[in-house]
């Protein structure tokens, strides 16, 4: 068997996955904590205030990485769901369903920090602006995936249904995004790329560090959840019982 196939088969095996991720997770948490400490220090203490928005601009260091993550995780779920459905890889089904609550949480953080930022800047907690609305619709898409998973009794069937729904949602997400964009726009445009005024390096660095930090948070949280889901699903299997008897 060639090394790539061997790796895929190994990672697909729950006991192997459980054992190896057990070593990995503390590292992910550690990197996340270090990066967050640096990012928050640079962002909340060192970075200059915005000449128009004053110190409220610092919400950006939580808001923007969360908003990026909320979309990235949904895309991830769709890709993993597609692979899970086509090749029937159980580990990926578990990863899809473990991603959904993390993604929903990031979406909620983006919405909450956004409305806290909106209050002093726009004078209101909520406006039916394009990006806010598409973020809200994204939250409903996450709720749909989670609700569908919970509605089934049989976990594997539930995970496959949730994977299929996330693929359908991911096809629609760009269409929703652009239609809503076109419907109403108040949110400022992206400060990256394009021909806008751009962003000062002293503000860019903490933002990029935070954006990297949340990816490690996602990795750590996702793997922890996936391990728990595996234990729950396999609680009658030999490898889990061996694990439990080892602990005692």
């Amino acid at each position: 068997m060639n090394p790539i196939m061997l790796f895929i088969h190994k990672t697909g095996s729950p006991p192997w996955f459980y054992q190896k991720t057990g070593y990995l997770i503390p590292w992910l948490w550690a990197i996340f904590l270090v990066l967050t400490a640096i990012g928050l220090y640079l962002g909340f203490v060192k970075a200059p205030v915005d000449y128009q928005q004053g110190t409220t601009v610092r919400i950006m260091y939580l808001h923007v990485p969360s908003a990026w993550m909320s979309m990235m995780i949904y895309g991830f779920m769709a890709i993993m769901g597609f692979i899970a459905l086509v090749w029937r890889i159980r580990m990926l089904e578990v990863l899809v369903i473990s991603s959904a609550p993390v993604g929903a949480a990031f979406t909620m953080i983006a919405l909450l920090t956004g409305s806290m930022w909106g209050r002093p800047m726009w004078g209101t907690f909520w406006v039916w602006d394009a990006r806010l609305t598409s973020e809200l619709v994204l939250l409903f898409l996450y709720f749909g995936v989670i609700a569908l998973y919970n509605a089934y009794d049989e976990p594997r069937k539930a995970a496959r249904a949730a994977s299929l729904l996330s693929i359908v949602g991911a096809f629609n997400l760009p269409i929703i995004y652009f239609s809503v964009e076109w419907w109403n726009t108040l949110h400022q445009g992206s400060s990256f790329g394009g021909d806008g005024p751009g962003i000062h390096p002293e503000m860019l660095w903490p933002l990029l560090i935070m954006a990297t930090a949340v990816k490690f948070f996602y990795g750590a949280n996702l793997l922890t959840r996936a391990r728990l889901t595996l234990l729950k699903q396999d609680h009658r299997k030999r490898w889990v019982q061996d694990l439990v008897s080892e602990e005692h």
Binding site: L85, F143, A147, L148, A151, Y152, G169, N172, S179, V180
Partner: protein, 227 residues
């Protein structure tokens, strides 16, 4: 298994669905009655001011159409699932996507088309200006098939669940957002004499995309529900 041609299977299924629909006439009328009742509630709720009603008319009519469609979606595959017909269809050797497409076409003809036919009445109630009426009808003709196509995926995903109806609305409403935006903006543009062809063009593109992809997703969801 003697492989019957796909066309024969498709038309046989359509005929069966029409016969079933005809024998359950009362059940079909429920979503339409619902459509009328919901639309009546709006003038009662926001007041009978003709100008206000005219302003919100496109949105109200389209939202009522979404609600009525979702109401009829739960039964799309349910009775076939419960009495085992769906399993027989899968075993028939015909493409499941084709079977799904025929169910979707039948659903549109008995649930979507009546909404289009009722829309002039709704437009009159909501005091929609005459300039908007033809665009409203056009947007419903293009849009209601999309409602059936996307809804069928949700219906197929929830068919094996006991209380799928509520979940179904949570699954499909977010997916209906682009359609609602485009359709209501086309009608509103037509009322104030602005060009609306772009919105209708995008809706048609959406229709073609869902028409090509949704039957496959529905078939995959049906297989999953039967497994």
């Amino acid at each position: 298994m003697s492989a019957q041609s796909a066309g024969t299977a498709f038309s046989a299924l359509l005929r069966r669905d029409f016969l079933l629909a005809y024998r359950r006439r009362a059940e079909l009328l429920q979503p339409l009655a619902f459509l009328l009742v919901v639309t009546t509630l709006f003038p009662l709720g926001v007041g009978p001011s003709p100008q206000l009603l005219a302003d919100i008319a496109p949105g109200v009519i389209w939202i009522a159409a979404l609600l009525a469609t979702v109401l009829s979606l739960d039964s799309l595959f349910r009775s076939d699932f419960e009495d085992g017909t769906l399993e027989q269809m899968v075993l028939s050797g015909q493409s499941l996507s084709l079977i799904a497409l025929s169910r979707i076409v039948a659903h549109w003809l008995v649930a979507g088309l009546p909404i289009v036919l009722l829309s002039p009445l709704l437009a009159m109630w909501m005091n929609l200006p005459d300039e908007g009426l033809s665009v409203l009808i056009e947007s419903l003709i293009i849009g209601t098939p999309v409602l059936s196509l996307i809804g069928a995926i949700g219906g197929a995903l929830t068919v094996s669940l006991k209380r799928g109806g509520q979940l179904l609305s949570l699954l499909v409403f977010p997916l209906y957002v682009p359609l609602l935006i485009l359709a209501t903006s086309a009608v509103s543009a037509a009322v104030v004499d602005l060009p609306y062809i772009g919105q209708l063009g995008l809706m048609t593109a959406y229709l073609i995309t869902t028409l090509t992809l949704a039957p496959f997703a529905t078939a995959a969801a049906l297989k999953l529900s039967l497994s």
